[in-house]
């Protein structure tokens, strides 16, 4: 449907990714035995953030996204987002990336679902951009990239009519349909129900430009109001608050798109799937158009050359007992993890290889990890020791 979804998709999903990474990297800052080892320094964190933001907001990448095109599949999206994350010295294993993607997607779905007016999708995007700008504020070069992108978005989207925004929103809702992964933070603050669906309130202020329901007005042939009556609206709505600012800087008013995660609560990002619903499991030929898009996007991203003396830092972001077990049993598979993307085995071998080839084309050459223990802490410590 809408041909303008990609820039907003990447900025919003990328923004959520940064919020989560920021929280996790801060959480990793506390080592269990209070020793100085295994600690991510402020500089390390900043560097990871700057590298990722720089990759996401690079001019070439944004220019590619701004070309009119369809929104393709979750596989393509996840591949590109993984590549963005790996623009830094941080490495995520596939299970972590899957979890991260689930979190990002559910957060964005929540924001789109509750977006008061279709046009407010822009305000949600600007909330993400504002927070990203804050994260990289100490690096003027990256702030500049963010500002440039922000200006471009304002230029392209500000004049779109509401109908276009609703079409964009509907395209996104269809894309995120049937995803009901439960996120512990959302459950805790009660924006999500135990069945995975988001709470839709029938109270509170109406969106800007909408009247509080309840009034019927009748007119005569000359346009004069001749009668009014009221009806019970079964909600408790109040009149709208002021409109958010659509400029480069300003009060966005709506809070959707702001960072919901707090620093010291890693359990907020625990997720649980509704196992009856499968996401993206129907193998289908990746359309030629989609492969072309993927190739173009990958090609447009800056390939940060990590010097050979530096080993990438592996992070297992969402450790669970099951994951530890999986990591242990598939010990041999870890070697292939450095091929950047390890796509889960699917029936369409050809597509899998094709995607891996495209993704692999842009991977840095890296040495395999020296220490293949299955414990998260050990991994990191080993890495730090090797420096």
């Amino acid at each position: 449907m809408s041909m303008r979804t990609l820039p907003l998709v990447f900025i919003n999903l990328g923004g959520e990714m940064l919020y989560i990474l920021d929280q996790r990297l801060n959480a990793l800052n506390t080592s269990e035995d209070n020793s100085d080892k295994g600690v991510w320094s402020e500089n390390d964190r900043k560097r990871v953030m700057n590298d990722i933001v720089g990759s996401m907001f690079s001019k070439d990448f944004m220019d590619e996204l701004l070309k009119p095109q369809q929104l393709y599949s979750h596989r393509t999206l996840k591949t590109v987002l993984t590549r963005i994350a790996h623009a830094s010295i941080m490495r995520l294993n596939p299970v972590s990336m899957d979890r991260l993607y689930e979190l990002m997607v559910m957060a964005f779905k929540y924001q789109i679902f509750l977006c008061p007016r279709p046009k407010d999708l822009l305000l949600i995007t600007y909330n993400h951009i504002d927070t990203i700008r804050e994260i990289v504020k100490d690096t003027p070069v990256v702030v500049n990239q963010v500002d440039e992108t922000h200006r471009k978005i304002i230029e392209v989207y500000s004049s779109l009519p509401e109908g276009e925004f609703q079409l964009l929103r509907q395209t996104l809702l269809i894309f995120f349909q049937d995803m009901h992964i439960r996120v512990s933070l959302f459950l805790k603050i009660q924006v999500q129900n135990p069945n995975g669906r988001f709470a839709l309130s029938t109270s509170g202020p109406v969106p800007h430009g909408i009247e509080v329901p309840g009034l019927i007005r009748m007119f005569d042939g000359k346009g004069r109001e001749i009668r009014r009556s009221e009806f019970p609206s079964e909600g408790s709505y109040s009149s709208s608050v002021k409109e958010g600012c659509f400029e480069l800087h300003g009060d966005r008013v709506i809070r959707l798109g702001m960072n919901m995660y707090t620093v010291n609560n890693p359990e907020e990002t625990h997720t649980s799937k509704d196992t009856s619903v499968k996401m993206d499991d129907t193998p289908n030929l990746l359309a030629k158009e989609e492969l072309n898009l993927l190739a173009r996007l990958m090609g447009s991203m800056k390939a940060e050359k990590v010097p050979k003396t530096e080993t990438g830092f592996w992070i297992n972001m969402f450790p669970t007992d099951q994951e530890e077990e999986e990591a242990g049993t598939s010990g041999v598979a870890e070697e292939s993890l450095f091929e950047v993307i390890n796509i889960q085995a699917m029936q369409d071998e050809q597509v899998t290889t094709e995607l891996a080839r495209i993704a692999g084309q842009f991977a840095e050459e890296e040495d395999p990890p020296l220490n293949l223990s299955s414990s998260k802490g050990d991994d990191l410590l080993a890495m730090m020791d090797d420096l």
């Binding site: 449907m1 070309k67 393709y72 109908g163 509907q170 809702l173 009748m218 009556s229």
Partner: protein, 336 residues
Amino acid sequence: MYHKEKSIQIKNSASALYNNLGVLRIAPRSLTYFTVVHANVVNMVSASWDGLNYSHRQLQSKEPNVATSTSLIMQAAFCALPSRDLLVVTSQKGIQIYESDGSTMVYWHALDTPETPTDQAVFARGISAVGKSYICVGDSCGAILVFDVPSKGSNITLSDVLKGHKKSITDIASECSGSQECIADLISADDGGNLCVWKSGETFQRFNNIPGFDISCTSVKLWKGTAVAGYGTGQIRLYEAVTGILHAEVNAHARWIYSLDIAPFSGLLLSAAEDSLVRVWHLSIKPESLSVEVAHLHNECVTDTQICGAKFCDGDGYAFAVTGYDLSEIIRYTQS
């Protein structure tokens, strides 16, 4: 006034599209057909009136060739003509017309898609039968394609293209009161909130243009010469179709209206919106003053659901059905 009945489960969930529920009542066979769009698939259910038999069918959007990605469906609606009933499915690539039970595709019309994509989306949306043998379908450029349908067979032809809108068509409806005396028998709505009123025939005539306020009119109905339109402001407006005189304005919903329907024999009006509410109203036309009155009758809240389709299941409005985004069921209500 209404109570909830047992829902009909469908194979996938409904997509967030305007007017996303089609209903066709087949009295001779005591059946009702329902259609609900999910991405590139139309879910069809045939439900027997005794509630004992449900049969399901899925229709896919037609792809011109394998190299292109799947085409999303914008709308599926039944067209009841005097001679036959058909099911029309509109998508990003074109218009498919099926026999009403979905068993055979009788016609395919491909939309013109540009070689290199432009930022203007291409799709067909807005479906209505009108007159003796016409089916009208709107598109994203604002044009309305008029197809002439023979009483049998697949010799459907494109007989006219109506230009009256500059924005994408959102909905089209024909006069549903059954009255032959109406001057105009077709109404179309677009993303700018503009309404065009037409008279069908060998050459369609445009009778009137009711301007909008830059807010989409997402759903429109025509009943006894009154245009009933639902907007993105959550408002319903009633106009006299041929003159454009505003009879009434209702601040009906707190979010975008996604669906309107009228039960022609009783004058009941159904409105449904993203705010999770379905409302039932009564329209009455006062012949003395030639005005239309709107009275509110009933509310139903579908908790935590953005409703995308709502239709009466019969001409009196004795029962109605509702679909919601991400919901894999058709919820039904009947009068108590």
